[in-house]
């Protein structure tokens, strides 16, 4: 492809921008959208299990009085904690190579935008899990005790106390995760995932098309701002403290 002068009156130039930037943006949204959804769902679940089984956690508060089961909690907590730490210690680029075969099994191909969702999700799950756990841990123990001593069950304490009391924190975790995934998705060009990072490299870096580079930067900044602004807005609405 020939290099085109920056000229917004030139239909050819506009067409070129559309051909490069629109699919790249779509690919980024696709990768970030699916991996966020999956990672936040699975990660929050995992973080919840780690939290409720932790020492001094929700289940212990109940088990402590009810009798047996402490040992089982310790085992579950220990195993999940170890798995999360293991994945957390891997740089994203290593995850990309390591899950190559896995992507083939899950999405039928190990390259392309779909395949890129797999390493992104796997990299983000432990991150979300730890964020979730930390958010729950910020809730003062006394609030749990107040709920327990009011006669609440484990699930009532979780759904009527822990979740509503930490809602704003959980929303902020989603914001951070999505923004992180926007960043990580830029690396997915490595396995043909495409996206804005890939466009920036292929056109902006390899072919010295600085204008394309600048546009990808602008689009990325806008994307991140939208996510951050929306997240902050929702978190603020939820926060009555």
């Amino acid at each position: 492809m020939n290099r085109l002068e920056v000229d917004f009156t030139n239909p050819e130039y506009i067409e070129h921008l559309r051909r490069v930037l629109i699919p790249a943006t779509e690919q980024t949204l696709y990768m970030v959208g699916f991996s966020s959804l999956l990672a936040i769902t699975i990660g929050t679940l995992l973080g919840t299990i780690i939290y409720i089984t932790s020492r001094g956690g929700l289940l212990e508060s109940f088990v402590a009085r009810e009798g047996s089961g402490l040992a089982a909690l310790r085992v579950i907590n220990g195993v999940l904690g170890f798995i999360v730490n293991t994945f957390r210690s891997l740089p994203f680029i290593v995850v990309v190579f390591a899950v190559f075969p896995l992507a083939r099994i899950i999405v039928g191909t190990s390259i392309g935008t779909q395949a890129a969702v797999v390493p992104l999700t796997i990299a983000a799950i432990p991150f979300v899990a730890r964020l979730t756990e930390a958010t729950f841990n910020d809730l003062p123990r006394g609030v749990l005790e107040a709920a327990i001593s009011s006669g609440a069950t484990v699930s009532q304490t979780f759904f009527k106390v822990i979740i509503p009391e930490t809602a704003q924190g959980l929303v902020m975790n989603c914001t951070i995760t999505i923004i992180n995934l926007v960043g990580l998705s830029a690396l997915s060009g490595l396995i043909g995932g495409g996206g804005l990072g890939d466009a920036a490299k292929r056109f902006g870096f390899d072919r010295h098309q600085t204008d394309i580079l600048i546009y990808t930067i602008i689009i990325l900044v806008i994307l991140v701002q939208i996510v951050q602004y929306t997240g902050d807005f929702i978190a603020k609405r939820l926060d009555k403290r």
């Binding site: 508060s61 402590a64 009085r65 009810e66 009798g67 003062p140 006394g142 609030v143 005790e145 107040a146 709920a147 327990i148 001593s149 009011s150 006669g151 609440a152 069950t153 009532q156 009527k160 106390v161 509503p164 009391e165 809602a167 704003q168 939820l238 926060d239 009555k240 403290r241």
Partner: protein
């Protein structure tokens, strides 16, 4: 008071925590009966075992040995729904309120009823009643962050009362509040006790709280009850140093400069305690007349404790060994408790 029924029986209660292989005996062989409708106080320094006691009574933690019977039911036998029912019927008021910050005052108070799946209409009428009782009708839809400490604690108390408990435990409920607010919360507790007949267990390190609201008190030290009795008795006739420290009415330290000066010329320094209607003045002048002793009053204080006046005077008696002894015997006869403060110096 003695004809009341026993509501809580604590029998040989011990609680041991194992931390890193070593055992910590938080509670050692506690034996106390708390009667229905009374306000019973536990006082102790931090680390005395107060929190452990709360957690055992509220059934948040298992006890190591002994028994806690409430209305004759052994807490350690409760499981599942029975245990949750017991917890609902025991209100807990916390030092740091522990309210749901993302819920309104109304929702906070309704919480124990909601988890018990009470009908909506009942919850509404019950919460409205409680809001009126604690004087927060206008804060119904406010969030706790908008409330003062005292108002937050009123919400905490209303929540504790929501499920119509027979017992309310106040765990340092006034320790985070300023003196004026503390006073108003104590008035509220007394009012609830009188109006609703709810038994209160007050756990505190503040002697003022005990003196103002409790009828009986137990002093906890190193996990043991070292002294127990009516608040008046413990104040007037303390048996242990800890009790003396907590319920100090007048300064009895010999290092007090006023006492030091007075004792330069010799004599006995005496703490005279009188309880109830007695006022010491006529007895003091009588001592002077009858036995020819000199009496100088160095400090004094009168306090009202559970509607009983307790006064304390620190006086210097002089005028010869036998005259002083006769004077002491005379005061003793008239139910004024005397204690010689400068024993060593006087002996030497």
């Amino acid at each position: 008071m003695s004809e009341r029924d026993t509501l809580i029986e604590i029998k040989h209660l011990s609680k041991t925590y194992t931390v890193g292989g070593s055992e910590i005996h938080a509670l050692k062989d506690i034996n106390i009966n708390i009667e229905e409708g009374e306000i019973f106080g536990f006082i102790g320094q931090s680390g005395a075992g107060k929190s452990s006691l709360v957690r055992c009574l509220a059934s948040l933690e298992p006890i190591t040995s002994g028994k806690v019977l409430v209305n004759g039911v052994d807490l350690s036998t409760l499981r599942g729904e029975q245990l949750r029912f017991y917890r609902r019927k025991l209100g807990l008021v916390f030092q740091h309120f522990n309210l749901l910050m993302n819920s309104t005052v109304y929702e906070n108070i309704a919480f124990p009823l909601k988890v018990a799946k009470k009908p909506r209409a009942y919850i509404q009428s019950q919460v409205s009643k409680l809001l009126e009782l604690v004087g927060l009708e206008d804060k119904r839809n406010s969030y706790p962050a908008r409330l003062s400490g005292g108002q937050k604690q009123r919400v905490g108390i209303a929540r504790a009362l929501a499920a119509e408990p027979s017992i309310v435990i106040c765990d340092e409920a006034t320790s985070a509040l300023d003196p004026t607010t503390t006073e108003s919360i104590m008035q509220l507790i007394k009012q609830i006790n009188r109006q609703l007949g709810i038994t209160f267990v007050i756990i505190t390190h503040e002697m003022e709280v005990i003196k103002q609201v409790c009828s009986r008190v137990a002093i906890l030290e190193d996990g043991e009850v070292i002294e127990m009795g009516s608040v008046v008795d413990v104040c007037a006739y303390p048996k242990t140093d800890t009790a003396r420290r907590f319920f100090k009415i007048v300064d009895t330290e010999l290092t007090n400069p006023a006492y030091k000066n007075a004792l330069l010329s010799g004599g006995l320094l005496i703490k005279a305690t009188f309880v109830g209607e007695t006022t010491p003045d006529p007895f003091m002048s009588e001592c002077v007349k009858r036995f020819g002793v000199t009496v100088s009053i160095l400090s004094g204080n009168i306090q009202e404790i559970s509607q009983t006046l307790i006064g304390c005077l620190v006086i210097k008696l002089d005028g010869g060994e036998s005259a002083v002894q006769s004077a002491l015997a005379y005061l003793d006869e008239h139910n004024i408790i005397t204690e010689v403060l400068n024993i060593e110096q006087a002996g030497s």
